[in-house]
Structure formats: C-alpha cells, structure tokens
C-alpha cells in the first residue's frame, strides 16, 4: 500500500543522490570554504548570568601581532538594527554583541578578529571586561511572577507572551464530565545539537556593493534579516545556497553570527569567517530548544472518552525573544492531538530568563506538546482502569470524519489512525508483548510498555505569526522551483535554499522525473544564490516534500504544457488533443520527439506557437495549500495543511537496582501519506526516534542556581550513541493527503514527535507497580534508581 502503482519513480527504492558526495568526503560545508585573505573570529563571552558591562579594554589584545580588530556591542549596535523579534516586544532588544549589559552566561561581549582562529582565541583571553554582577532569574515560574527581576528592564517584566485561548464550551464540557484529573509534566531544555556547529563566511565587495554570505544556515528570510540588520538593500546581500549544512533540525539560525561577520567583513575589507567552536555553540549559539512546564486539567467520562482539556504551557525562552515564543503557537494546529477532544482552553506563556536563547527545534514545539497530551491520555486510562490502547481507540478521530475540524480552527486533511494502530499492534503481537513484560516483571525486573499516538503537522505555513502577533499579517509562505530544458535537451532544476540532510535534490529530481516521465538521475539540480533565486521559506515546518515537491511538480506541469503546445503546432492539432508520454508528444500515431521539441524551442522560432517565448523554461511559486486567512478574533486559525500520524510501541526493561532503562523493543507505525523516497523517510523516522530517546533519557542543558551552564561540552551533554538506540521496526501505512500533488505529507519531524511520550510512558508503566512516576524529562539513570529505591524503602517501612 506504500507504493501505489500509479507512480513511476515516486515511492520506489531509489538511491539518494546527495549521498555520493558525502561518502567520499566531498560535501561542501561552511568550514571547507576558505577565501583568500580570510580572517577568523573568536568571541569574548560573559561568565555572569547577568551583569552590567562597566568597561572593555582591548588594548592588550590589539597589541598582539596578527590581531586585526576587537569590536564590542556599542560599536556594532551603532551600525546595525536590533535582530528581529517574532512577537511585538520592541523593548526586548537583541544585538549580536551585548550592549551595556549581558543577560546570560556565555553571551558575547566582544568579537576578536585575527589571522587564525587560534590567535583570535589567544587575543580573546586578553580582552579585559569589567562587570558589575546583577540579580538574575533562571526559573520560568519565578520569572512569571511580577516580582521577578526583569531580564530586560525596559520591557517591564519577564513576560513575552501571556495569552489564553478558549476554543469551545470548556466550562460546560468540564461540568458535564464524570471525571477530572490534573497533571504537570516538564520538558527539559535540550536541543538538536548538530555535529557541525554554526558557521558563516562573509565577504564585502566595495565596488559592487554586495555582501557575499555563505553559511551553515536553515532559516526563513535569512537574506532579508541580514539586509535589514546591516541597513543594506536586500539586493546588496547575496546568500549562497550551495553550502551543505551539517545537520540542523531547526536550529541552524545564526542570524547574530551573520550580522556580526557581515559587519566585520565590511569594516575590515577582508573576508571574515566565524565557525563556532563547541563551547560557543553550546553556551552561546542561541540554539537551545524549548524548556516547558505543562499544567493540564482534563475532563473525561468513566468510559475513557475525553471531553475537554485545559492546558497551560509555560516556556522558558531564555534571555531574548527571537522566534522562540512562536513554538507555543504552532502546536495550536494539533492541540488535541489525534483525538476528538471537543473543547480546549490553552494558556500560552513565554518568559525571559537569564539562560541562553531558545531557537526553533524539530517540530517547533510539537514534540513537547505531544508528550504532554500523551501523558495525559495515559493518566486518563489509568484513572478509568482501562487499557491505554483502548482509551486511545475510543478517542481517536475516525477515518470517515476527515477532513476534521479541531476546536482551535485547523482542519486535519486525512488519516486512518485506527488502521495504523491495528496494523502496528498486529505486527508487534500486542498480547505477546504484554506477556513478555509480565514475564520480565516476574523475574524481578521493572518492565513497562509505552505507547504514543501523535501527529506531525506538515507543510508549514506561518499562521502562528499573525495569531500571536497582531502586527504581523503574513499569510504568504511560499516555496519555489524553476525548470529549464537546455539547448541540448537536458533538464535542469533550480531550488532556492540550503539543505541539511533532507535530500532536497533527490526530492525535486524525483518529483520532476515523475511529472515529465523521465529518469530522475538525468536531471541536474542546482542552487542559485539568493540574488538569482525565487522566493522561498527554507526547509522548516516539515514542509519540503509538500512545498518544494509541490512547486517542482507544478513547474514541471507548466513546462509540460509548453511542450505540448509546441508539439501540437507541429502535429497540427489542438493542445488538448495531444498526449504527452515519456518526453514525447503524440497525436494518434504521430509523434514529436523530445529532441524535436527542444530544437523548436531553442532554434526554430518560426515553428513556435504564436505568442510563445523561446526556450523551455518554467517557474512555479507555490503557496501553502492552507493557512490563507488571518486568524479569527477568538484565536482560531488554520495551521499546517497536512497531518502525518505515528504510533509508537516501546518495551522498556530496567534493572531496579541500577536504574538504567533498556529499550528492548521499539516499533513505530507511520503514515505520512505517499512516500516520495522510502530511504529518506525511513532515515527521518529513525533519526527522529534517536533524537527523542536522547531528549527523554540523556540530553539537557543544565544550569546551576548561579546561572552557570553545566553542560557546555559533549562530556556533559550526552547524545545517544549506537548503543543507546535500539533496532526500530517500522510499520507503514499510507493515507494520501487530498491537499498535495502526490498525496504526500511531511516526515521530517517524524519519530521525534512521539518518542519522548512513548519512552517516558514505558518507564512510567515499569515503575507504576511501585507507585513511582516521572513527570520531567530527561529521566536520568540516577534519579530513576533513587526514586525506585525510595519507593521500595517506603514499602518495607509500611509493610505490616
């Protein structure tokens, strides 16, 4: 069912073309790009959680041979605009280098430019900064209180966003429900932490008046933001998209780095490159993910049917606003998960604290939200004493109800959640799995089964922007593609973004090959720079299969129409009467070949249809399939168009004395509609699960009470290795989306969206017999074992 026969290349087992250059070490990453005369940057970082900068003395650093400049925040701020905020919070000003005061440990105070990175680091050590330590706030709940020390005094408080949405008859549904319960879960501060840190190389051409920028970037509106910040016309910034990005999953958004380096390149008249080192990346790359406390009240009946939910999500945005608060907005598009919850109160709060800045992470807030929803459903099952699969079955939206409008205004496109669950459980052997768990328990081990039924909203639009910031009226969120058949008849496709492992070249070649019925391997894919590019919004919001795949397909369809028109003239028939097949056009038993069409288009103007332009070129700028309207006054909006579904089943075994969870079995049922490239989707899912396992068990940016970050290196920030990720079995299902060209949905966030809920659920199932619950991620070995030991001790004490 995964590869409907109607496709020629889509869904087939084809190699990923990008892989060829990567396996031989010929990827072209930012650190591989060197320019003649290039200078290097190192940063002077604040060691305080909050401090006034009394003075900066760079004289010793500047006296070192090979040091070209030391600049501070005052200099840069005078020459640039503050970085963009997502919300309407004009007094939360953010500059690449701290101006007057620093607001988190690691914040950049000054930048040193030298002949080599090593020299720049030597000089950075010699920059003397005099600080006056200030009061600070680390904890989000404390920051939310009016008495807390504001991180930005000019803003007046730490609250960036505090909004209550009421969707539906919440009070009525609560009153009518037989049961209620409350829970709190906390999502720890972690991130995607790509193995390549962020890097940027900028070069100013004073005669051409253009700033060339190459960067390890995954960011919407990157060129626009650089131009605005540096007060350049947008056509004075040329971003090169032919840079391979060494992993991102959301976070490669080094706008502050880019503005800084752009300024330095202009100031010094030399190419300047900044590649974060790992310490800079971890403490001051502004790339931490959401850190969130969920408080939930849920109203349900004794049969497990959930009627209504009140959720408060309190997000710790760190020291500056950025786009992070929007990560509270995106989940509104799937706030009820895959369930028929009739009404929702959602209270979204984002606060500033003296921690590093939060950035977009895979799922844009959806994975923490899914973790909260799924934990809630587990609790409901527990409360009514029903099997947790059964409770989900009773609440899931049914196949025949699609398109399904959820209380917050999004219409889900399609799905067959019951089928995916049935198929997955059949594959698992649910009864056998339960028996295995019970047998393990009988042996004295802690064993538990976790499940998660989650959505991956995909095809990202920006509906959360106008929803949370009324001054932002953006509803356009396009992606573009250009096709050109050259004079010798080969096909060239241009895409207008960087990629960080998503296989976009394979994607568009497959989509165009499918549409034109020609071998995708014969299609060249290129990435023009931003000055030659059509508008786009970069690979965010699990959107590229839908949006770039869609734009490529539509561009190919336009091209095909031109081809058919050219051929029809030669064939002497109406275009509607001509049939395109595998590059040639037929009318009855007569044919015009691809080569002939190319010749006509490029060389025989006299044979072109009237009004046709010479050449064979087409462009398509595609708007997202939904999200075309501004939000309603009561805060309802159509968020992303497509909704992939995933169902996780995990068996966890824990030695109660040691506390280390072992993932004994991991199965995921996955439905992302039509799969364009099975290898790519599989990799996304497996990688997402690994990332989710890390978030659940290992990964956290820890701050101590003094605001010092305790996990600045890979010695302390622990990511799963091959030992920690089990073999994962994938069960496929395909419910095509009616909104996309091939029926495809997004898969770039798959696995990650449900893994934390499932793994945490499994651990909680394992410790439930002891009455022990873990409501906070990550669940660490030591804490787990300590809780188990305490519970056993108490049982011993209370035993008669």
């Amino acid at each position: 069912m995964n590869a409907p026969s109607k496709f020629r290349y889509i869904s087939t087992d084809r190699r990923v073309r990008e892989d060829r250059r990567f396996v031989v070490g010929k990827g072209r990453y930012i650190a591989d790009l060197a320019a003649e005369g290039m200078l290097h940057v190192a940063l002077v970082a604040s060691q305080h959680a909050a401090a006034n900068i009394k003075s900066i003395d760079a004289s010793k650093a500047l006296a070192m041979p090979g040091v070209h400049a030391v600049i501070d925040g005052a200099e840069l701020a005078a020459a640039s605009e503050p970085l963009m905020n997502g919300l309407d919070t004009p007094n939360v000003r953010r500059h690449p280098l701290a101006v007057g005061a620093t607001r988190y440990m690691g914040e950049w105070v000054a930048a040193v430019v030298a002949d080599t990175r090593a020299l720049a680091e030597d000089a950075a050590e010699l920059v003397e900064v005099e600080y006056e330590a200030l009061p600070f706030v680390i904890d989000a709940e404390e920051a939310y209180t009016p008495a807390s020390t504001p991180v930005h005094p000019a803003h007046g408080s730490n609250v960036l966003l505090d909004r209550v949405f009421n969707w539906g008859d919440i009070d009525e549904h609560f009153a009518a429900s037989e049961r209620q319960l409350s829970l709190r879960v906390t999502w720890g501060r972690n991130s995607t932490v790509p193995i390549e840190t962020f890097g940027v190389l900028a070069q100013w051409d004073p005669w051409g008046q253009v700033l060339d920028v190459r960067a390890s970037i995954q960011m919407p509106k990157y060129a626009d933001q650089i131009a605005r910040a540096l007060r350049l016309p947008m056509n004075g910034v040329r971003v090169h998209y032919d840079v391979d990005v060494g992993g991102s999953y959301g976070v490669k958004r080094g706008i502050k780095h880019s503005v800084l380096v752009g300024y330095l390149a202009r100031k010094l008249g030399r190419p300047v490159r900044l590649i974060e080192d790992r310490l800079e990346n971890m403490r001051s790359g502004d790339a931490h993910g959401p850190e969130r406390i969920f408080d939930i009240d849920v109203a349900f009946n004794s049969d497990g049917v959930i009627n209504s939910m009140k959720m408060r999500a309190l997000d710790n945005a760190g020291a500056y606003a950025g786009r992070a608060p929007f990560q509270l907005g995106k989940p509104i598009g799937a706030i009820v998960g895959p369930y028929r919850i009739k009404s929702v109160r959602y209270h979204a709060v984002s606060v500033t604290t003296n921690k590093a800045v939060e950035e977009a992470v895979r799922g844009f807030g959806q994975s923490p939200t899914n973790y909260a929803i799924e934990t809630m459903v587990d609790r409901v099952a527990e409360a009514v004493g029903l099997d947790k699969v059964e409770v989900r079955r009773r609440n899931l939206i049914r196949k025949e109800e699609f398109p399904y409008l959820i209380p917050s205004g999004t219409r889900y496109d399609s799905g067959d959640y019951h089928a995916v669950i049935d198929k997955t459980l059949a594959h698992v052997g649910w009864r056998e799995l339960v028996a295995e768990r019970d047998a393990l328990r009988a042996r004295g081990l802690l064993a538990g089964i976790g499940i998660a039924a989650c959505l991956e909203p995909s095809g990202g639009n920006s509906s959360f922007e106008p929803l949370l910031n009324p001054k932002n009226t953006t509803t356009t969120w396009m992606e573009s593609c250009r096709l050109n058949v050259d004079a010798l008849g080969t096909v060239n496709v241009a895409i207008h973004t960087t990629s960080s492992g998503q296989g976009h070249e394979t994607l568009v070649a497959t989509a165009v090959g499918e549409a034109l019925e020609i071998d995708p391997d014969k299609i060249r894919v290129t990435r023009p720079d931003s000055l030659s590019s059509l508008p786009g919004n970069s690979p965010v919001g699990s959107r590229m299969a839908i949006m770039l795949g869609g734009a490529a397909f539509h561009a190919a369809q336009k091209l095909k129409a031109k081809i058919v028109a050219i051929a029809a003239r030669r064939l002497g028939c109406a275009p509607e009467a001509a049939v395109y097949r595998e590059g040639a056009v037929f009318h009855g038993d007569r044919e015009v070949s691809w080569d002939d069409i190319v010749t006509i288009a490029h060389r025989h103007f006299h044979e072109l249809p009237e009004g046709a332009e010479p050449g064979l070129e087409s462009t398509y700028i595609m708007q997202t399939p939904t999200g075309l309207e501004l939000p309603t006054a009561d805060g309802r909006v159509q968020m992303y168009p497509c909704h992939s579904f995933e169902f996780h089943v995990v068996l966890v075994v824990i030695d109660p004395d040691l506390g280390k969870p072992e993932l004994r079995r991991y199965v995921i049922g996955h439905d992302c509609g039509t799969v364009i490239n099975p290898h790519i989707v599989k990799g996304m899912t497996l990688g997402g699960i690994a990332h989710g396992i890390g978030a659940t068990l290992l990964e956290e940016f820890v701050y101590d009470a003094e605001g010092q970050m305790m996990s600045q290196s890979f010695m302390d920030y622990l990511m799963p290795s091959a030992h920690e990720v089990p073999r994962v079995e994938i069960v496929h299902h395909c419910t095509p989306s009616p909104l996309t060209v091939f029926g495809q949905k997004g898969s770039g966030e798959s696995g990650y969206l449900g893994a934390p809920a499932a793994v945490s659920g499994a651990i909680n199932d394992a410790t439930r017999p002891l009455g022990v619950r873990f409501n906070k991620l990550p669940i660490r070995v030591g804490a787990l074992a300590d809780a188990v030991a305490d519970a056993r001790e108490q049982r011993k004490d209370s035993a008669p």
Partner: protein, 293 residues
Amino acid sequence: MKAAPFEYSRPSSVAEACELLTRDEDARIIAGGQTLVPMMAMRLARPTRLVDIARIPELAFIRDDSDAIVVGGATRQAALERHASLAARLPLLARALPWVGHAATRNRGTVGGSIANADPAAEIPLVLVTLDGSIRARSTRDDKVIAADDLFEGPMATALALDACLTEVRFPTWSHARMGSAFQEISARHGDFAYVSAAAQVALDGDGKCVACAIGVGGATAAPTRLKAASAALLGGRLDDAATREAIAAEIAALDIMIDPHASPAYRRRVAVTLAHRVVIAAHDEALSRTPA
C-alpha cells in the same frame, strides 16, 4: 577551541624525557593524549611544553613475567587488549578494557596515561587497585615502585611527582586453576565514565572454598577502592550470597562517597554494593565452573 601555545619535544629515551621534565616544571608528558588534549583544547590545561613519550621504545612493551603481566607506560590500550595471554592470565583486565572509552580512543590511549590521569571512574586504575598492582616511576632523582594503594590520592591526583615518568605498570597474575573474574559498570551511555564500576577476582580450592579474593569499586569514591575487609571476610569458606553482600555493604557503608552532579551519593553507595556483590558472585561462579588442578 585551540590549545594555548606550547613547545614540543619528542625524546628518544626515558632519561631524556626526565631531563626535559626536570628543566620545566610546567612541562607535561603526553602519550596517547586522549584526556590531556581535550583539557588543552578547552584551555583548562596549559602546559608550556609537551614531552611526547609515545615513541620511546623502552616504554612500549608487554612482558609476561611469572607472577605478573608488566606493561610499558606508553603501551597502547588496544595493544594490551590484543595481547595473546591477557584473557587467560589477566581475565579481569581483559574484561575491563572494552569498557575503556571507545575503540578509537583505545587505539591511541595508553595504559600508563589512564593510570596517571587517575579519573575516579577509570577502569584500568580500578583493575590495578583491585589486583594490588604497582607502577614504576622514574625521574632524574629516583626510580621507584609505587603500590597501587599508595598511588591514587583523589580525583585526578596521584603520588606521581610532576617530573616523573610512569615507566611500567605491573598487574599481578594469579596461578590458581580455579579462578574467575567479573567486571561491571553503569554509566549513562556505554563508553562514558562510570557512575559506579566494580571488579572482582576469586580463586577457589578443589572444595570450592575461597582461597583468594580481590574486590574493587570505582566511580563511587574519589579514587578506586579495594574492598579489603570484604575480600578478607570471604577467604577460607564457601561463598555465601547473603554474607557476601553483607560484608560488602558493611565496608562500603564506611566509605566516603563522591559528590558530583551526575548521580547522588546514595545512588553511588547503593549501586557500589549491588555491583560489587554481583561481580563477586559472577567471579565465584566462573571459578566454580573451572576444573580443579
């Protein structure tokens, strides 16, 4: 993350290395560099000179003595792992070595380096302490043997003088026919430094009575600790599960447990007892499965 500048020397003999160390008190030995280089990259270590002993021929050897395997200070961990007689003569070390970092770090990391670095959770120091081994250290002043018991003083602290070169490591071997060993550890991820590790080697006579016993725990205490009282308590009799655990628990109850953010002291103490108990039982069962001489 670039190291601060330093000078580099690659002496061809231990004597020359010692000479270099004497001349500059901020000089440091580098062998495999698997721990020192990260510290230098973060500028937490700033030696003025690195004295590279990795290629001094007299420091790279593995010698099978009658009562010990003696290993040159700069011998790579991977070389020791592959040593033909290791599994038979030093099964405890053979079991511990795969837990040391990852294959790629064992290929460069040295036996002496791991010992001199003295991480409380490191596996090789634990085995050395458990088996009551020793090292030899040479400087321009002397050439002396230091017993493992006297060597490890705390986290990253040893009795090795700063100008001394660890020239050899002596791991005592046992000649009992009925011998068993076991090594276990628990960490967040395989290959990480352990929260707690435990090592045991047990020898039995023909009747199954314990004639030799060595138990050690690492990670829990500031330096690897040999459980001498528990080991002594188990000698002379048949191993009793409950008594073993009790003896171990009693000794560990009296230890000073390390405090760090990664695991609570209570966890470390409990798990030290659990793992020590388990390795003794496993070592005993293995010994019991061997045919008496």
